[in-house]
Chain length 497, copies 2
């Protein structure tokens, strides 16, 4: 018996194997969005579903339960203990779901997401509903099983997969707080900005020049092109594996700013992945801590840094080099462009101030949708009402720029949206902490020295992976748990200061 | 017992599963050549190796042996009997190899092939040998095991994976025949062509225009872009899955013809795959019959059709549209360019007449290499001597354009080279048979009606998949088994007629 492989080592080997097979799934998933021709979809969906079932089977091997129990009694380092904690979390979540459900979900979401790409352009809500109903039904089935397993509410059980520790109760407080001051803040900002003229850039902006500008900006932000790529897909994302990060963007000849800022956003995700501790890649403890923390990195790049006046002063001449000099590219005007607040329909084009309204709207639809309080048919009316209430925008009949705009629901990703706004709050908290420890931070950024920011993020977030639970990581990084006051202070300083 | 799943159905389900998981491996393999950044290689090699081992484990499940025996006693259709025959073949080949060998091979070849990409440019034979020795050692280990299993010689056992039924003894006859008449034919053609001036195209040829021309030509040749793509890799290939064919080419600004003709070549492979019977995809009986038959399709496209005067007359104006009018693009001159015979160093750039010499040279090295009659260190001397003897070309010290030029050896693919020349012979035989049944074939091609060619190939080859063994398929298609006289007649007619 004493020569037996320690249970911890066996578990660790299983996760290495899962990581290796998952690598192929990640690359195929990126390919599906960036390359795959339409007739390839059915075979790809079958292949992805087969792999999802296989990985699920490996994750739910009954032998693991005994190994987890045995490993808890083995002499483990702090790191190994943290890994075992995350392994147990993964095991509990995986075992709540039967393989047949995983396979049906993979099939249904692949079909729905693929059809959605055309249905969105065609504004075809009725067609979408056909494929979406089974996706929702399966998500509710999953939520019920996870709820039984964890004791959380159904929606919270889904959210827990992305943001462990976060609950609807805590969100009611946080989003409730935001709902109190956000509408007034938006009005004040719109009022202030109405007196600040802004010059719009004049296109067209050649796609090749945009691509080059995006890659140059990614290099400035430290993205390692020897270990990743930038490609094009309908809905930008950051995929692949930590060793080979696949970022995507989309280009429009009439607007380069949205793809540039989107690329800066995804670069934050990419650098988090590229800088996870390499020796732990594949182990649960080596993974990014949570989706809100992931968003806190993309938003640190896009918002805290990307719209920082000091950074903008460095970006401005790069735009002139890419597209020729324009009055719109003068630093002060560029800064105004990047911080322009508009009550619009599209979440991914939304500014830093109104973005939270888009998230709260989605949260207020998907939570009751999963809890069974409303049905898929009820989405458009809820959407239209909330858009009017929160942003004063009329979206009736415009499904394309309404509930069909995001990939999340067609791909069955419920419980994710809150992470975006939580990420914005964390990123404001990170920069507040940086300024406390580096009072000259803004001077450094203005001097083009971004190293201090990257070093702080690497030290406090990237290198920590999942060693600590979220509140503990946040305490260690910033001296307190999530505190939305930093987000409000940031918006007031930047937009009304 | 009577309610048990028929053994045949269980086997069939296993192969569907293998096809689905193999789909992800194929796409990742294409990605490795077409997209992957350098630092991704180690993780990718580990992932591919893990998957290779998994597929091997599924293929060698001991339960299959009993299923194969039981299925033989079940009432099966002709198609199912053929599938069972191919399943048995696959099972025997797979079970000759232990999983550890498969995994070591996958690791060693991924490493060797990746390093080779840089080593080839650097003409670094010594560096290449370091990685190649383990690849060769593992190939010999595999050959020995397959030889024990099949009773074939070691080299024949490797060749049998690509070209079932072909042996060194048969090749000695076929290549021996070619060796007798080829050198004299080359001399006569060179002599004849020395009196026929040819105008070279004047570059540079913009890569974007080349890409557009290649895609247009692929469309003309019936490639379905809704079910496939064209991308760029160092060594062109046709990969992916039948439902999503991934072709690659490479572009050089100073020479568009090699990439255009390479693309026409790969399009032949691509159409074979795209037109395999869709209901049988994934089953062994639904796969392309053999590699020589695969090459017979690429060479039907590239040589029989691509250099056909009637086809060339249609290609000529497309070149003028792509790059502007040039004297070189006049049909008669273009035809001379495409049929120009040169004793050169590079196989993939070789013309239809000297190509067989390149293949015979490689066959005469890799056969004794696998049989243990020579070592990796002996390759350059053998190479140099054979190049001098067969083509009068001095390759001493030029490893880049010598034994480092092909991806086959670094990727451990021994026994494949003969298929190229066998394919050329089959393609000549197909067109001879077409002309017998359609005496106006050349007039049709000249009129731009390629449908007759595609219909014949679809009917006789593509749709037949692996229903018949090679000799049987060849008999049914052309009324005789492989007969190299058609190849000789084709070369004499086209080059001396």
């Amino acid at each position: 018996m004493s020569t037996e492989t320690p249970a911890y080592d066996a578990l660790s080997a299983t996760y290495t194997r899962l990581h290796r097979l998952g690598h192929l799934q990640s690359i195929a998933s990126w390919d599906q969005a960036a390359n795959m021709p339409p007739k390839g979809n059915e075979a790809r969906a079958a292949a992805m579903s087969e792999m999802a079932a296989l990985l699920h089977r490996l994750r739910t091997d009954p032998a693991m339960q005994a190994q987890i129990t045995r490993a808890a009694g083995e002499p483990l380092s702090l790191l190994q203990q943290a890994n075992l904690r995350e392994i147990r979390r993964d095991w509990l979540a995986s075992n709540a779901l039967p393989e047949s459900l995983v396979q049906r979900q993979s099939m249904a979401t692949a079909r729905c997401e693929h059809a959605w790409r055309a249905q969105r352009s065609a504004n075809d809500w009725a067609g979408f509903l056909e494929n979406f109903r089974p996706v929702l039904a399966l998500a509710r089935e999953e939520a019920a099983l996870l709820s039984d397993e964890t004791g959380l509410s159904r929606y919270d059980a889904l959210m827990d997969r992305f943001e462990p520790g976060m609950t609807s109760a805590r969100l009611r407080q946080i989003f409730g707080d935001v709902r109190q001051w956000l509408p007034a803040l938006i009005r004040r900002v719109l009022d202030k900005q109405s007196g600040e003229p802004v010059i719009q850039p004049v296109g067209p902006f050649a796609v090749e020049a945009q691509r080059h500008l995006c890659e140059r900006t990614m290099r400035l932000l430290g993205f390692d092109f020897e270990a990743g790529r930038l490609d094009v897909s309908t809905h930008p994302f950051c995929g692949g594996v930590p060793e080979d990060v696949r970022m995507t963007t989309r280009f429009r000849e009439d607007n380069f700013l949205s793809s540039l800022m989107g690329t800066i956003h995804e670069t934050g995700h990419g650098r988090y992945e590229q800088n996870l501790p390499r020796g732990l890649v594949g182990q649960p403890v080596g993974q990014a801590r949570s989706m809100a923390l992931h968003e806190s990195q993309s938003l640190s790049f896009e918002m805290q840094l990307g719209s920082h006046p000091g950074f903008v002063a460095h970006l401005a001449p790069m735009l002139a080099e890419a597209f020729g000099a324009q009055a719109a590219f003068e630093p002060q005007n560029l800064q105004r462009l990047l911080t322009r607040v508009t009550a619009g329909t599209i979440r991914v084009d939304a500014d830093e101030v109104t973005y939270a309204a888009h998230v709260i709207l989605r949260y207020e639809i998907e939570r009751p949708l999963i809890e069974g309080e409303i049905e898929a048919e009820d989405i458009p009316a809820r959407w239209d009402a909330a858009m009017m209430e929160l942003l004063g925008v009329d979206t009736r009949g415009n499904f394309r720029d309404g509930p069909l705009q995001d990939v999340h629901w067609p791909s069955g990703m419920f419980g994710y949206f809150p992470c975006y706004s939580l990420g914005a709050m964390y990123s404001a908290q990170w920069f507040a902490a940086m300024r406390r420890s580096m009072p000259d931070l803004d001077t450094r950024i203005a001097a083009g020295d971004l190293g201090a920011v990257f070093d702080w993020l690497r030290d406090k977030v990237w290198s920590q992976a999942s060693l600590w639970q979220t509140d503990e990581l946040t305490m260690r990084a910033s001296g307190e748990v999530l505190n939305p006051a930093h987000f409000r202070a940031h918006l007031e300083q930047r937009y009304l200061g």
